[in-house]
């Protein structure tokens, strides 16, 4: 009797609601509420679908955009790179043929795939979300169970709206207390990864909570969940609350009117129960988290801003070869303080930190200053629909006056 009464985590509740059936090999067939597509990992999947003579089963559950190959400097078509152009054409053709909504260039909604999901209100609590991109964990900020998949799995979702999946363990990560000024979500997640390791999350979904996480706005929570994968966890999520609802209310694809009230009730019930059992619980003190700098070649090689590069002997033996490689690559000495190392390139953006709030924060610090001579500074926005919105604070023109280069030449996002 006690067993049935035991509470459940959000992950477990969502899993149960989406488990279609057990597969012969012991995995589960999991229904995917929302499937997001982009041009890099989807053309092969549509090709496989064609080879098998299959159609997209529920096109109303798939949304596509183009992000990785979009040139930043000149978006006139055809692009300078004919291969990039052909990838865009392929996505246009595939989405048209299968009746999938496509946020194309110029639609005002095109942008980094896991940023537009939340901004358009496609991402909602309790949903299972899949996309051919490891940073799909970002959507977990909304209490969704979201994860990156490979191209063969993109095919599976297109054809059946389901995946063969294995249930993960859940690790609750509490961050209690108040973050010091100048400490942001990215410092928090780097701190967590530094302590749990880049492989620490293997086999786990990370549930973030505690007073410091509850106090975070949605964009900070997205940063936190985005980088779960850098800590080895395929899924990271935060239980939905009033902050989540305030963000979603009124977004184009969010429920409206009575449906909105009903949705909120449903979402609140999905929160992990207070007595839910976890496979592991780890607690961090917010006050102990300093602005964090990664000094090497993996996200686990992080130190507080007042720290120093570690000596090899201080590291666990298995981390030493990678640390040695990092020291050589970066040209650092063991024991060297990180403070005082000159900045050569400032990159403001990427799929972890390219939201309007991030750019505002940078603008606040830049006000009245110019980028130092010899420093290369770049910023790039995550979604083209902002055109005009951040203008008052960080328009491309005023940024250029400060020596900031808008956009990035290569890709506006980490590749999937």
């Amino acid at each position: 009797m006690g067993r049935e009464r035991m509470g459940k985590t959000l992950y477990e509740k969502v899993w149960e609601a989406h488990e279609v059936r057990k597969l012969r090999n012991g995995q589960s067939q999991l229904f995917i509420d929302l499937h997001l597509l982009h041009e890099v990992t989807s053309p092969q999947a549509f090709g496989m679908l064609r080879d098998l003579g299959l159609r997209v089963r529920y096109p109303h559950r798939t949304f596509a955009t183009v992000d990785h190959i979009v040139p930043t400097h000149d978006r006139t078509e055809p692009f300078q790179d004919p291969l990039a152009q052909s990838m865009l054409e392929a996505l246009r053709q595939n989405t048209r043929e299968h009746g999938i909504t496509f946020f194309d260039l110029g639609s005002g909604n095109q942008g980094i795939v896991h940023v537009i999901g939340p901004q358009l209100g496609l991402t909602q609590p309790g949903m299972t979300i899949a996309c051919g991109d490891s940073h799909t964990s970002t959507h977990g900020a909304f209490g969704a169970v979201a994860f990156g998949i490979g191209t063969s799995q993109v095919r599976d979702v297109l054809a059946t709206q389901t995946l063969a999946a294995q249930k993960l363990k859940v690790r609750r990560i509490n961050v209690e207390g108040r973050l010091a000024p100048g400490v942001y979500a990215k410092d928090v997640i780097l701190h967590i990864i530094r302590h749990l390791g880049v492989k620490g999350g293997l086999g786990y979904a990370y549930e973030y909570g505690g007073s410091a996480v509850e106090a975070m706005d949605m964009e900070s929570r997205m940063t936190l969940c985005n980088m779960s994968i850098e800590g080895g966890a395929r899924i990271g999520y935060v239980n939905p609350d009033e902050t989540t609802f305030q963000y979603l209310e009124g977004r184009p694809y969010a429920p409206k009117g009575p449906e909105w009230e009903e949705a909120k009730r449903r979402w609140l019930a999905l929160r992990s129960d207070p007595d839910a059992p976890y496979d592991d619980v780890v607690t961090f003190r917010a006050e102990e988290i300093a602005p964090t700098v990664t000094w090497g070649i993996t996200p686990g090689q992080a130190i507080p801003i007042d720290g120093r590069i570690p000596f090899l002997e201080e590291l666990p033996e298995e981390e030493r070869p990678v640390a040695e490689e990092a020291l050589a690559y970066m040209g650092f000495r063991p024991g060297q303080p990180i403070k005082g190392v000159p900045v050569q390139v400032a990159f403001i953006g990427s799929c972890t930190n390219a939201r309007l709030s991030d750019l505002r924060e940078v603008a606040r610090h830049l006000k009245g200053h110019k980028v130092k001579k010899g420093v290369r500074a770049w910023w790039c926005r995550a979604r083209s629909g902002w055109r005009g919105r951040p203008r008052r604070r960080a328009s491309p023109r005023s940024s250029a006056r400060r020596g900031l280069n808008g956009g990035c030449r290569a890709a506006p996002c980490a590749w999937p």
Binding site: A17, H18, V20, R21, R24, N25, G26, Q27, Q29, F31, D33, L34, V40, T41, P43, Q44, G47, L52, R57, Y58, H60, R61, I69, L83, A84, A90, G121, L122, Q124, M127, G132, D133, S134, G148, I149, G150, T151, S152, Q153, D156, A159, T160, Q161, A164, Q166, V198, K199, L202, I229, G232, R234, Y253, P255, A263, T298, E318, E319, V322, W415, P416
Partner: protein, 201 residues
């Protein structure tokens, strides 16, 4: 009918390095393509070739290991991105299996789903295997997914592989599409029951 993987035999190529990420396996610029065909030639491209395209010293360029079909790696192999291009490049370069200490989650799933078994050995056994292959590139290595062991020389080492992945490989069920499609009308019930995003009028 999908291939059933029971025993995989071949010579191995030792590739040392912890946490080798997918961008090293297949650099992002080679993903600008509409198919996976031809990806094999770009496997570890930036580590195998310099800027002018001349070969650099690398186990995959080493003539002693030419024709090897088993890739030997250390821990955390395949971290970073979700790109299936990484296991696709390995498979298309002629590899039939990977032996390592541990694999990144998404990489492992992607590799299994395209019929590229990734098996783990205990660190001591892996170290012995690395040394054995480095000393004798002709050494034949046997991965036995039924007996759950890796055999080489006179050594037998237990292999570790998630049971559901092992069964899928042995039973020829590693590509789940057929079984997923069988759910048929059951899927419609889920589609009707579960909400999806709709744009308000």
């Amino acid at each position: 009918m999908l291939e059933k993987f029971t025993v995989i035999r071949g010579r191995a190529v030792p590739l040392r390095g912890e946490d080798i990420d997918t961008d090293r396996i297949i650099p992002a610029r080679f993903m600008k393509a509409l198919t996976f065909e031809g990806l094999g030639q770009y496997l570890f491209y930036d580590e195998r070739f310099d800027e002018k395209g001349n070969p650099k010293p690398h186990p995959l360029n080493d003539p002693r290991y030419r024709g090897a079909t088993i890739l030997l790696v250390e821990s955390g192999f395949g971290s970073g991105s979700s790109r299936e291009h990484a296991p696709q490049a390995i498979k298309r370069a002629g590899f039939k299996a990977i032996i390592g200490e541990s694999f990144a989650e998404i990489f492992f799933g992607n590799a299994t789903a395209i019929g590229l078994p990734c098996v783990s050995l205990a660190p001591e056994d892996l170290a012995v295997l690395f040394r054995a292959v480095e000393e004798n590139p002709e050494l034949e290595v046997e991965i036995d997914l039924v007996q759950k062991e890796v055999r080489f020389g006179d050594r037998v080492a237990p292999l570790f592989l998630r049971e559901e992945a092992r069964e899928a490989l042995v039973e020829g069920l590693w590509d789940p599409i057929g079984e997923l499609l069988e759910a048929g009308e059951l899927l419609d019930a889920f589609d009707q029951k579960l909400p999806y995003p709709r744009r308000a009028e």
